[in-house]
């Protein structure tokens, strides 16, 4: 496994991607089981069908912004700020109804607000914000190893149901999973996650103890994946009633037992909807893969210049094409060498190429947070990410070339994309 520092010293992490024309998605043969959809996009979209619009939903430290363009993705309209001055941790549209969008609006002063739009983000109404743990919430580990009471801080992630616009899941800090089935008016905890998964052993990372990733299995409505910093990945096969830790194969030097069942700082997991049993993970350190719905994991960091990072995303039409943004280390949250590089693997991991065309290659010290990368469903697939410096970049050719959509937003917390007819 080694340390990322070892790799940084021993690797040529230069411009492997420069000057190369990576094959475009339409150059490549389509795998038999490749799906035409990806998470967060309209059901029934067909590869090759020319979509007319994309809507990029951006959450920042000081409000939300909505960026729209046609299918060429080169001429953008910027709307916002919405909820100016508030932290928008996440904003995401319903795959079943793209006009239905949910936003997590939060503030250290005024607490949590959930906003809902029913007209594609033009107008918004606050819905329910009473997010109360089920029963006596108990305690988890604090930074110093003592037990600390569970306290609600904010909603990190909102995951609308794949089929029902009124059903939406919320991942919160302190870590727990909630569900609303009435469009966000009321929220109920799926408390089996905390009870079944050794919640007293979970601990906060630097950003707090947050449930930040929720993945819904399109083939199995009862299957939900969730990821928590710093606890690990978890799976339910019964709609969220009961849960299992799925962390076998993870190795984390920052916990007493590096291979413990829980305690791992998982930063993000991703899947391709055509193969929901294959999971990709950006852990605190290490990029990992599971081919059995999380039953076991193996490392795929390969030749990355650093395997620390936050987001991970899968190409909309190529289930073996994966994107990460290497960050130097857990104490230096910026790109190695001041070069902002997305790395792409077309082999499901191990072999990675730097994507640099259009990205700053000197004096760049921004971060890309875990929620801040997304893909659209167009062909070629569009890749999007936002930075803590306020830039939102788009690649309309699967990562080969990049351009900023906008350069000077507040620090970007989250990026989601809707592909619209």
């Amino acid at each position: 496994m080694g340390t990322a520092t070892d790799r940084l010293c021993g690797q040529d992490d230069g411009e492997r991607g420069l000057g190369l024309r990576a094959p475009r998605s339409h150059d490549r043969p389509k795998a038999v089981n490749e799906s035409d959809t990806c998470g967060g996009v309209l059901a029934g979209e067909q590869k090759g069908k020319r979509m007319s619009r994309v809507r990029v939903l951006v959450g920042t430290r000081k409000g939300a912004f909505i960026l729209t363009a046609d299918g060429k993705r080169d001429n953008w309209t910027i709307d916002g700020p919405f909820f100016g001055g508030w932290e928008i941790y996440h904003i995401k549209g319903s795959p079943a109804d793209p006009n239905r969008i949910y936003a997590s609006q939060t503030s250290g002063w005024f607490g949590q607000v959930i906003q809902r739009s029913d007209d594609g983000g033009k107008t918004w109404e606050p819905v329910g914000n009473h997010v109360e743990y089920d029963g006596v919430p108990g305690t988890h580990q604090w930074y110093d190893g003592t037990q600390h009471p569970w306290e609600f801080a904010r909603v990190w992630h909102l995951e609308p149901s794949l089929a029902d616009p009124d059903t939406v899941y919320a991942g919160v800090e302190d870590a727990a999973l909630f569900r609303s089935t009435d469009g966000g008016l009321t929220w109920h905890e799926l408390s089996g996650l905390r009870r079944d998964s050794s919640g007293h052993l979970w601990q906060p990372g630097a950003g707090g103890m947050c449930l930040h990733t929720i993945l819904l299995d399109p083939d199995n409505p009862g299957r939900i994946f969730a990821a928590i910093s710093a606890a690990g990945a978890f799976r339910s096969d019964d709609g969220g009633k009961t849960w299992l830790p799925i962390n076998r194969g993870l190795h984390s030097e920052y916990i007493p037992d590096p291979e413990a069942e829980v305690g791992h700082c998982v930063h993000r997991i991703a899947l391709h909807p055509s193969r929901p049993q294959v999971l990709f993970m950006q852990k605190h350190w290490d990029v990992m893969r599971s081919d059995d719905a999380g039953e076991s994991w193996h490392e795929i960091s390969g030749n990355l210049p650093s395997d620390f990072g936050f987001p991970i995303a899968v190409h909309a039409h190529e289930p073996e094409t994966v994107y990460v943004v290497p960050i130097k280390s857990d104490h230096e949250h910026f790109p190695p060498e001041g070069k902002l590089r997305v790395y792409r693997s077309r082999t499901g991991g191990h072999e990675w190429e730097a994507l640099t065309n259009g990205l700053p290659q000197r004096d760049c010290y921004v971060n890309v947070l875990r929620e801040a990368m997304a893909v659209d469903a167009l062909d070629p697939c569009g890749i999007y990410f936002g930075t803590t410096g306020g830039q939102v970049y788009v690649s309309a050719d699967s990562g080969d070339t990049w351009q900023p959509i906008v350069r000077d937003l507040p620090a970007v917390l989250s990026v989601e994309v809707q592909t619209l007819p």
Binding site: G85, W86, S107, G108, W109, F110, G111, Q112, V113, P126, N129, H130, E132
Partner: protein, 98 residues
């Protein structure tokens, strides 16, 4: 008639300009004023005090008549000048950067 001044973010949330005027039944206390405020503007529930514990959010303060009332028990009466509407109850967001 009770006058309440909200911080700017909550004025936007409640879609009001300037002061809010409330009618409060019975004793005029922090609790009864906040109850009336949240009944009139449900969108403010949870933004000033925690919905489960009813505790004031730590970065908010309650001022009136040149006094800091943030730490007085929620069922203590508010100053006469607030109960008569001469002075407003000011809900203030702490100056803590951002």
């Amino acid at each position: 008639m009770i006058r309440v001044v909200l911080p700017p973010h909550l004025r936007i949330m409640a879609r009001v300009d300037g002061e809010i005027v409330l009618e409060v039944e019975g004793a005029v206390t922090l609790r009864s004023v906040l109850d009336a405020l949240e009944a009139a503007y449900p969108v403010l529930r949870g933004t000033i005090r925690d919905q489960a514990t009813q505790r004031r959010r730590p970065f908010l303060r309650f001022f009136a008549c040149q006094q800091d009332l943030s730490h007085q028990p929620p069922d203590d009466p508010l100053p006469d000048a607030v109960t008569t509407g001469t002075e407003p109850l000011v809900i203030l967001a702490a100056i803590a950067g951002g």
